[in-house]
Every structure is written in structure tokens, then in C-alpha cells.
């Protein structure tokens, strides 16, 4: 029961941000780079949440920010998930020698800190939406691969796999029929947690000025820009942070709920 409520609460929070992002595709109160609103207009009136120091509408930029947060989050989970699951499957099925080599490489990739890796990718390419997605996804793939490998090994040790193997099932069929159906719930929970981390990583990159460049109004960039005017326009420095927390808490709740729903033994004990 508890899992279902957690899951539902998470879905509501994520859905809220998702709805804002979808609306921003078809309708925005103002143009995101329109600076005609007057500088630091207070909330209310023509600009519902006021304007920033260049006169851009805060609500508009928050809506665009939702889109960027979700794009980078989902994009990097896609990159990291595909790379990670592929590498993890390979290591899980590999012979001992290849498995050892892959595991060592993964350990090193994981030891390489996410944010530094992301900053390195951005330093090599230029700061853009694509760079942020590739950088965060790449950093994430190590963790996903290591988890996948452990899960695959656990499934492959089961008796029914041995039975299936002796009866001549090819390994691609083994993957699609036995391995993936058994490991996807745990993987999904982990990918959901990674989504939250990716959103935070993108915010940090943008705050440092290494995220998607203007006119992409990422929440991290909004916070960085609002820091100087926090006393005159406090809403600009509060609202993007609140939205970030709402999205990440929502994603984490979805992950927790999924974990409880996928594993019945956890439901009663907590």
C-alpha cells in the first residue's frame, strides 16, 4: 500500500513539471529573450512573477527551464541507460577475462567524478544542450553498467537458466526472454534515481556557466543570474530552486514507490 501512495505522490510532482514543459512548447506568456518588460519588475500586473535584471519575464523563463531540465534529464538517462545496460550485459555474459577487464574499466569510470567528467566534456566540446546530455549520460553509464552486470550474473546463476542453456537456447534469446524481464524492475528504479541526479548535475553545470548557452533558460542559469539581485528580486532566486526540488523529490518518490511495488517483500516491512 505504501508503495502505491509514494508512487502516486511522485507522479503528481513530476507530472506538474512535465505539464509546464509541455505547455511551454505551444504557449509562453512572453518571448524568452524579450527584454521590453522593464528591469526587475515586481511580481503581479503584466508579469505574473516579475522580470529579471534584463527585463525578461520570470514565468516564461521558468517554463522554458522545465523543458530543459526534463530534456537533459531524460536525454542523459537514455544515453547512460543504453550505454550502461549494453556494457553491463556484455560484462555479465562475458568470459572471465573480458569480464575482469570490463569491471576494472567500469570501476575507474565510476571513480571519475560525474561533475568533473561533465566539465571535461564541456571543455572539449562547447557548452551546449547536447554536450550536457552526453557528459551526464556518459558519467551515469558506469553506475548503470555495474548494476546491470551484478543483476545479470545473479539471474544467470539460476537453475532454470542452466536448463534453458542445455536445451540449446541462444544467448540473444536468453537475454530477451529470461534476463531482461527479470532485471528491468530494479534497473528502472535505478534509472529513475539517476534521472534526479542528472537534473541536479545539469543545474550545477548551468550554474557554473557550463550548461546549455543562452537563450536556453536553464534553472541553474536562472539561479546564477538572480544571485546578484537576490535582495531586490528574491523570487528570481527562490522559484527556480523550488521547482528543481519539486522535480527531484518527485522523481525520487517515483523511484521509491516503484521499488516497493516491484518488490512485495519490502511492502509490509516498512
Amino acid at each position: 500500500m505504501k508503495g502505491r501512495h509514494t508512487f502516486a505522490a511522485g507522479c503528481v510532482l513530476v507530472g506538474l513539471v512535465l505539464a509546464v514543459a509541455v505547455v511551454s512548447l505551444v504557449w509562453l506568456p512572453y518571448d524568452p529573450s524579450d527584454t521590453t518588460g522593464g528591469r526587475l519588475a515586481p511580481p503581479g500586473g503584466e508579469h505574473l512573477l516579475g522580470t529579471d535584471k534584463l527585463g525578461r519575464d520570470l514565468l516564461t523563463r521558468l517554463m522554458v527551464g522545465a523543458r530543459i531540465a526534463l530534456t537533459v534529464g531524460a536525454g542523459s538517462v537514455l544515453v547512460g541507460g543504453v550505454l550502461g545496460v549494453a556494457a553491463g550485459l556484455l560484462a555479465g555474459f562475458a568470459t572471465r577475462w573480458l569480464d575482469d577487464a570490463l569491471s576494472a574499466a567500469l570501476d575507474i569510470l565510476i571513480a571519475f567524478p560525474t561533475l568533473l567528467l561533465a566539465m571535461l566534456v564541456v571543455a572539449v566540446r562547447e557548452a551546449s544542450l547536447g554536450s550536457a546530455i552526453v557528459a551526464i549520460g556518459l558519467a551515469m553509464s558506469g553506475v548503470v553498467a555495474r548494476l546491470t552486470r551484478v543483476l545479470v550474473k545473479r539471474v544467470l546463476a539460476q537453475d532454470y537458466i542452466t536448463a534453458s542453456r542445455t536445451s540449446g537456447t541462444s544467448w540473444p534469446r536468453l537475454v530477451t526472454e529470461h534476463v531482461l524481464p527479470n532485471i528491468w524492475p530494479t534497473l528502472l528504479v535505478n534509472l529513475a534515481l539517476q534521472l534526479g541526479l542528472a537534473v541536479l548535475a545539469e543545474a550545477s553545470l548551468s550554474y557554473l556557466g557550463l550548461g546549455p548557452p543562452p537563450p536556453n533558460a536553464s534553472w541553474g542559469r536562472l539561479l546564477q543570474e538572480a544571485q546578484a539581485t537576490v535582495l531586490t528580486a528574491p523570487l528570481g532566486a527562490v522559484a527556480p530552486g523550488v521547482l528543481l526540488v519539486v522535480l527531484v523529490v518527485g522523481v525520487n518518490l517515483v523511484a521509491d514507490g516503484l521499488r516497493d511495488l516491484a518488490d512485495p517483500t519490502r511492502r509490509s516491512s516498512r
Binding site: A111, T114, L116, L120, A123, V124, L200, L223, L244
Partner: protein, 321 residues
């Protein structure tokens, strides 16, 4: 243990070598020539060639790679394009800010998280157990730099009791002033870090509280405190130590962002500056030093974990999951 140390040390060296190679390859994949960062926009081909010779980017790649690794082995990280100072000494000066910042924040976070995490598990039936847990849940979702912005707003801009940022020019000559400027950044990092630590301490405690060995110890007549001290602490500490290692590394990296919030002259701001100025020796140097730090922390955590938990020592050879 000796064999394990040997194996773990060789893994550490291999990781560092791989990380250094990865850095080299990635930075050489750049579309432009790093020499372009050294000369002004309208430079003649001769000037460009001179710049290339100066930084060695005219050499074949294997030779560049050998000299980069050779420099690393001699702890020589090259010379900054912009300041013309040795990168090694620039980084050393920055570490005087980043290392105290990291260690103070880490200590504060541990001091807060251990009792709070224990309470959240032990008193999960009282009103404050779930509350503490909920606050920790919220804490892991908050971007660290946002906490920094909010704390600066309240304590530096509104109440004016602490500096909003910066670090004394004379570094640690006046420890009091240096500590004052580190106070807000330390609290910022510690707040966010303790949130995730609390969750790990809590779940480790939940496992111990429900364990058979604790029940047995209690049935044998030990007091709750005695049983926790003799059996619980050591069992709960195993997962927590490995997490502490990861968290210390995360703190070190969190410092990168928080230094920007408070404009502290640390490793993080040096890296950002290096990226903005295309100062490749600085970027390389900072990334190598931080990776080394993270790898060393992981090494220390693994070794300590083995000292605490004899079960890990039992099957050193074939300990494959």
C-alpha cells in the same frame, strides 16, 4: 591483508594511469590547436608555429603523451598559458582553501548525521523519527549551490553577520578571518551532505536493530546500550564506511560548485577559470589532482573497511560477487 594491499595499490596506479590517458586523449580531441589559446587572434603562421614549439604541440602525439606522463611522474604539471606560473604551485595554493573546506564540511556532516540517522531509525515510532527521515529525503533533492545562495542572502546580506564570499588575501595568516569566510560554505556543503548520510546511517541502523545477533545479545542479558556498542556499532559501520568514502569524494567535488557561490579561491574556481580561458595545462592539472584525490579516498575507504570487517578479509582471493 598484505596481498590485498598490493592488489589494491596496483589497481589504484592503473586507475590513475588510465585517467591520465583518458584526459590526454579527450583534450587532444579538441577541434582547435591549444596553441591558438596562446596567441592573439590575428597571429601570423610564424607566431603560431613558435607557440606550438613552446608548448610542444608540434611534436607527434606519442611523444606528447610520453612527456605528459613523464611530467606527471616527476609531479610536474606544466606551466599555465595565462599566468605563466607552474600549474603545480598554483594548485597547491588553491588546495589551502579546498582541503580545509572539504574536511571541515565532512566532519560537520558526519557529526550531525550519525546521531540524527540513528535517532531516525531507533525512534521511527515517535513523531520525530519520520520527520527526520522526511527532512533528509528533501535534503538529497536540493542543489547545493541553491542552499549557498539562500544562506548568503540571510546571513550575509540581511543579517550582515558573515562575509558573503571571498577569502583573506593573506590566506591563513589570520586563522580567525580565514575560518569566518569558510563558515557559510562549510555549513552549506555539510547541510546537503548530511542529508544523504542520514539516510545511509538510518538504513544501516534499521538493519542492525532488526538483526538476530542483537536479539541474541539482549536475550543473553546485555543492556541495549552494551549490545549496540559491542555488536551493533561494528556491524552498522561496514556499509557506512564505504558510503563515507564516496561522500568525502562527493564533498570534495561539491566544493567545486560551492566555491563559485562564495567566490573562494579554491580548486573549483581555478578549473572554471581554466575552462573559460582555454588554459589547458590548468584544466589537465586540476582534473588529475582531483581524480587522484577521489581515487585515494576510495583506496582508504576500502582498506579501512577491511580492517573493520574480518569477513571481507576471509575470502580475499575469490571475492567475486
Amino acid at each position: 591483508m598484505g596481498r590485498y594491499l598490493l592488489r589494491r595499490t596496483s589497481f589504484l596506479l592503473a586507475s590513475l594511469l588510465l585517467a591520465a590517458s583518458l584526459l590526454f586523449v579527450l583534450l587532444r580531441l579538441l577541434p582547435g590547436d591549444p596553441a591558438n589559446a596562446l596567441v592573439s587572434v590575428g597571429a601570423t603562421p610564424e607566431q603560431l608555429a613558435a607557440a606550438r614549439r613552446q608548448i610542444g604541440s608540434d611534436l607527434p602525439l606519442p611523444e606528447q603523451f610520453a612527456s605528459w606522463l613523464g611530467g606527471l611522474a616527476r609531479l610536474d604539471l606544466g606551466t599555465s598559458f595565462v599566468s605563466k606560473l607552474p600549474v603545480g604551485s598554483e594548485i597547491a595554493a588553491r588546495l589551502a582553501v579546498t582541503v580545509p573546506l572539504t574536511l571541515l564540511a565532512f566532519t560537520l556532516a558526519v557529526v550531525v548525521a550519525l546521531p540524527v540517522g540513528f535517532l531516525a531509525a531507533w525512534r521511527s515510532d515517535r513523531w520525530y523519527g519520520p520527520l527526520l527521515n522526511g527532512v533528509a529525503q528533501l535534503g538529497v533533492a536540493v542543489p547545493v549551490f541553491w542552499i549557498g545562495i539562500l544562506l548568503v542572502t540571510v546571513f550575509a546580506l540581511r543579517l550582515r553577520v558573515l562575509p558573503a564570499g571571498g577569502f583573506p588575501r593573506e590566506d591563513w595568516a589570520e586563522p580567525g578571518r580565514a575560518l569566518t569566510s569558510l563558515l557559510l560554505p562549510v555549513v552549506t556543503i555539510a547541510l546537503v551532505m548530511s542529508a544523504s548520510l542520514i539516510r545511509y546511517v538510518r538504513s544501516a541502523t534499521v538493519d542492525v536493530l532488526g538483526s538476530d545477533f542483537l536479539r541474541t545479545a539482549r536475550a543473553m542479558g546485555e543492556s541495549f546500550g552494551g549490545a549496540m556498542w559491542r555488536h551493533g556499532l561494528r556491524n552498522a559501520s561496514v556499509p557506512v564506511i564505504s558510503i563515507l568514502g564516496i561522500e568525502l569524494a562527493t564533498t570534495f567535488l561539491g566544493a567545486v560548485v560551492v566555491e563559485s557561490v562564495f567566490t573562494l579561491p579554491g580548486l573549483g574556481t581555478l578549473l572554471i577559470k581554466g575552462i573559460a580561458e582555454h588554459d589547458y595545462p590548468v584544466i589537465q592539472g586540476v582534473l588529475v589532482v582531483s581524480t587522484l584525490a577521489v581515487l585515494l579516498i576510495g583506496f582508504a575507504a576500502d582498506v579501512v573497511q577491511r580492517l573493520v570487517d574480518p569477513r571481507l578479509r576471509a575470502h580475499v582471493g575469490g571475492g567475486r560477487p
